[in-house]
């Protein structure tokens, strides 16, 4: 928690506001979140909020950008260590799930509020990120399905993530790596190979993050 104790003095206002925005949205939804509640939670003055953000939506978009940027950074870091495309997807999945487990409020903002609860601009940011991930999946190669196969495979994994986030079980997300690896691989590499990779993913999930 960034807004209590001595930590308050160490964390810049902007970061405290973004964390408070994510926390408020996680508890009350974007629609039920007010700037006043964010200020109170962050422990900052209105002037400080106005110095950083044009308003509530601007602040929520900044929080959303923060988690998307962190996710992409983690993905790019892990990708360089892994050999083939399948191997990379496994480690990318691990990185994403570990990040969501560590930042549950931001994860809710990214996976739930921006998709179904926020403004059109937040929704657009979610759609853009989803398209990038689907394009990454499509690089895995041919499928007997169609153009929507990658989006659907990711959608399956996202449905499980959202259910866990809504039930406040983000901490357990990294253990679901085998399920996610299977979901995103099976349309592209076949069932036998996807099952084999899912078993290997159980070992990857057990590795230190």
């Amino acid at each position: 928690m960034l807004t209590t104790g001595n930590d308050v003095l160490l964390v810049p206002d902007r970061e405290r506001i973004l964390q408070a925005m994510a926390d408020c949205c996680a508890e009350n939804g974007y629609a039920g979140t007010t700037v006043e509640a964010v200020l109170e939670r962050a422990g900052v003055e209105p002037q400080s909020f106005e110095n950083h953000f044009a308003g509530k939506e601007d602040c929520a978009l900044a929080a959303l950008n923060k988690i998307v940027s962190e996710t992409l950074a983690r993905i790019s870091m892990t990708a360089s260590d892994a050999a083939g495309a399948v191997e990379r997807r496994k480690y990318e999945g691990k990185a994403i799930l570990e990040l969501m487990a560590a930042r549950p409020s931001f994860a809710k903002l990214g996976f739930i509020e921006s998709r179904q609860g926020g403004t059109e601009q937040m929704h657009g940011a979610y759609e853009s990120a989803a398209r990038v991930l689907a394009l990454m999946m499509e690089r895995l190669g041919g499928t007997g399905g169609s153009g929507s196969t990658a989006r659907a495979a990711l959608g399956g994994a996202e449905a499980v993530i959202r259910r866990e986030l809504a039930a406040d079980r983000a901490a357990g997300l990294p253990q679901l790596l085998p399920d996610f690896v299977y979901a995103v691989l099976v349309p592209f590499v076949g069932q036998g190979e996807a099952l084999r990779q899912a078993k290997l993913a159980a070992r990857v999930a057990a590795e230190e993050g």
């Binding site: 939804g29 399956g156 499980v160 099976v186």
Partner: protein
């Protein structure tokens, strides 16, 4: 209020939600559309929220009933999924406004409303469970394979409804069926089912 008025009221509340947003959705306008007086409304609901949640529950029951009714008649399992999915896609295409209420307007109200949406998706898990036996690799499938399949269909349906293209969904049955079946059957067998569905459409 009689059953017909209640149904009209609940649909009108969802129309208000989609058209005006949660903050501006008007109980008064919904009451007028249904011919329900203020006293009658207050005898049944505490306020806008209770009415909206009742409306959502009513709508989800209709959706699940419709998808399940035809599905229960079909055999084998992939045909059951195809028939249920076909009914669902036709309903979504016929009532795009209600579909938007179901997928976006209501779940976005607040976390308690979103939990209703999660519950709706979970209603489709039992019919997916039958796919484990049909897969031939029952013991090896991941623990979440049913929700992976439901979520795959949801992602496509949500995207089309949200983009205002709900009318396209019945024509997308083959590719959605592929995405639902592939976690259980693998891409080759799922593609066979997709081609059969395309031929029958």
């Amino acid at each position: 209020m009689d059953a017909q008025q209640r149904e009209t009221l609940l649909r009108a509340m969802l129309t208000e939600l989609v058209g005006k947003g949660y903050g501006d959705a008007s109980v008064e306008r919904a009451r007028e559309a249904a011919g329900v007086g203020a006293a009658e409304f207050e005898a049944e609901f505490d306020g806008k929220d209770e009415c909206l949640f009742a409306a959502y529950d009513y709508l989800t029951e209709r959706v699940v009933e419709r998808a399940s009714a035809d599905c229960d008649q079909a055999d084998p399992w992939p045909d059951r999924v195809r028939v249920g999915l076909e009914s669902l896609l036709q309903a979504v295409a016929a009532y795009p406004e209600m579909a938007r209420a179901l997928t976006r307007a209501f779940p976005g109200i607040r976390p308690a409303a979103y939990e209703r949406y999660v519950s709706l998706l979970s209603r489709f898990v039992p019919v997916m469970s039958e796919g484990r036996q049909y897969s031939g690799v029952e013991d090896e499938l991941p623990g979440e394979v049913e929700l992976l399949a439901v979520g795959a269909a949801e992602a496509i349906i949500f995207g089309e409804v949200d983009a205002g293209r709900a009318e396209r969904l019945p024509g997308m049955l083959p590719e959605i069926l592929f995405s639902v079946l592939v976690p259980f059957m693998g891409p080759d067998r799922a593609a066979d089912e997709m081609r059969s569905a395309a031929a029958a459409t």
